[in-house]
Amino acid sequence: MGTGMKAFGAVALAMGLACHAFAADPVRIGMITTLSGPGGYLGEEVRDGFQLAIDQEAGKLGGVPVAVEVEDDGLKPGAAKDIAQRMLDGEHIKLMTGIIFSNVAGAVVPDILDAGAFYVSPNAAPSSFAGKDCNKNYFVVAWQNDALHEAAGQYAENLGYKKMFILAPNYQAGKDALGGFKRTYKGEIAGEIYTKLDQSDFAPELAQIRDAKPDAVFQFEPGGLGITFLKQYVQAGLMATIPMVVSSPSMDARTLGAVGDAALGVQVASHWNSDFDNPANRQFVAAYEAKFHRTPTYYAAMGYDTARLIGSALQATGGDVGRADAFRAALRKADFPSVRGSFRFGANQHPIEDWFALKVVKGADGKPILQTVGTIYKDRGDAYAAECKL
């Protein structure tokens, strides 16, 4: 509500000052994201990053007034479907974004596309929408889900690890993670474990890791699971002898705050980091820290990039989302300075981007930070783009 009022105020101001032909109504954007439960901070970051871009333009994106309606899906696909239905049918919103979790996206995105609306994803990118079922109105700003684990596999390869122990929770994203990792990692798999999604004690797995004596461990335990796993990994004395490689969802600025020094030495494959030295990123990180008093995570960075991408297309079309062909062509150009530096869309409208090697080190103030230490891939797309006929 507060966001809506603020945007409304900005719009009123814009109309008074500029009196553009299109300034009659703000472009309305529906954001369905996860704001409650243990995964709630992820949606919070996306929302804040997105809102920052709007605030920087005083209520506009690409010079066009916008009004964002934010709704919490509570990580429930059914609830998200209801919200989408209301936004599409009841309010005739033509542009949606925000979904964090792939199982929610799987339920909601087809409804949005069937209604002829656009969906621009800041995070979730399941393989089901990246291959032959890609859609002309579906864009993903962050990545394709498999790509981040493929980058981690390549990172382990680059680091010269011959024998990896890999583990992930027993659900679709966990299986995709290990599958993606194995697609690019060519060495020996010393052990592969699927853990429970509600697991709180990892001691049995840690004992098996110690017993298997791998060169390194790859784990995809997102959110609280990852924090628990890392703490127990360090306490078991394993960090000193068996290094760890993870993909970015297992290690962001918030995770780091909760794990503390235990995370030192963890090696992360990511497409973005707060220390990237390009003008767009420097001003984004500075503005975000000034406004929210915390280091942005990649979720916030992707929320910001999503808003700026939408802004670039609104600018090109004068804010008329109804001219779908023109709006789509403008989105496809990705004519905005991404905080990642290099960024463009591939044939399936998923990113072609660079992947980087990060490492957790002690920062200047003694607190652990993520530091970029190298490049894993240049201009990499995803494994499904070839199947997409657009």
Partner: protein, 303 residues
């Protein structure tokens, strides 16, 4: 070697469950109250300890803050909300205490935000001890086992040897008769509830450096805690102790060894799928088997 380590892991997990289950089983057995919000008290203990630990840097302060916060909030909730529920049926209790879960989760979100908190580990327990050659075991986990055994002993002495314990046992057997004899049963209820909350808070404090301190952490362990008290027999602290160790052992050992065992019989991918499936069911199979054999649990209390 691996087996010895996994047995220790099972014992440690069981002890953790026991701390939660002891309070829950007393409250359930003596007051007849199903308290779904028991996990919230565990969360309160963990949050208060993490907050105090970060503010002061002292583990002792964290321990005291966690236990005190859980006990005080527990007793306040008992007096303000739960007292009205004793006479009502279990469904009302479930609905009301589920409401309390939502309340505490939202309150924790408002106070601490959505991101998990950092909980410092006491430096003197950060290392590991080599119990058997070549198997370093984290000192902190050994400390949890030690604390849990001490609590079990103290609870046994309290229930079996003291006047309060006698009243607790009496209340467990026949609530109305105790009241008729002129005992202030309301006070005993509040004390027992506070004790249960204190133990849940203690579990939360100890869980902090080990698990992720976050909103909703209580619900993750709540179901297993209920399994423990049902296996052990509702109302019995001894049952909670044995049940918790059984659940901890079965859960840990099936997770550790079942997939490997199945691999000698099935192909690797089948063994992984079946193994992880069966090991997540193992605890519930155990409960079903025990209930078939002893429908009121291992150590049913009289009533």
């Amino acid at each position: 070697m691996l087996l010895a380590e996994q047995i220790l892991n099972g014992a440690e997990f069981g002890i953790m469950l026991f701390l939660l289950a002891a309070g829950l089983t007393l409250v359930f057995g003596i007051m007849g109250l199903i308290n779904l919000a028991h996990g919230s008290l565990y969360m309160i203990g963990a949050f208060a300890a993490a907050w105090a630990g970060n503010a002061t840097g002292s583990f002792l302060a964290a321990l005291l803050a966690g236990m005190a916060a859980a006990a005080v909030i527990g007793m306040a909730v008992e007096a303000a909300v739960l007292r009205r529920l004793y006479a009502r049926d279990h469904l009302d209790q479930v609905v009301a205490t589920f409401g309390l879960i939502l309340f505490f989760n939202e309150a924790a979100t408002l106070l601490f935000g959505r991101q998990p908190l950092f909980a410092p580990m006491p430096p003197w327990l950060a290392g590991s001890v080599e119990l058997l050659p070549g198997v370093p075991y984290p000192a902190y986990r050994l400390a949890i086992i030690a604390v849990g055994l001490l609590v079990a002993l103290a609870l046994y002495l309290l229930v079996a040897q003291t006047r309060l314990g006698m009243l607790i046992r009496a209340g467990n057997s026949d609530r109305e008769m105790v009241r008729a004899l002129g005992v202030d049963i309301g006070l005993i209820y509040t004390l027992v509830f506070g004790l249960g909350a204190l133990l849940a808070g203690l579990a939360g404090v100890m869980a902090g450096p080990l698990f992720s301190v976050q909103v909703g952490m209580g619900e993750q362990v709540l179901i297993l805690t209920f399994v423990v008290i049902i296996i052990g027999g509702i109302g019995s602290v001894r049952g909670a102790f044995v049940g918790a160790l059984l659940v901890g052992m079965v859960d840990t050992l099936t997770r550790a060894f079942l997939p490997g065992l199945l691999k000698t019989m099935l192909s690797t991918s089948d063994a992984d799928a079946v193994g992880s499936g069966v090991s997540s069911m193992a605890v519930y199979l155990l409960m079903a088997a025990i209930l078939l054999w002893r429908p009121r649990g291992l150590f049913p209390s009289h009533g």
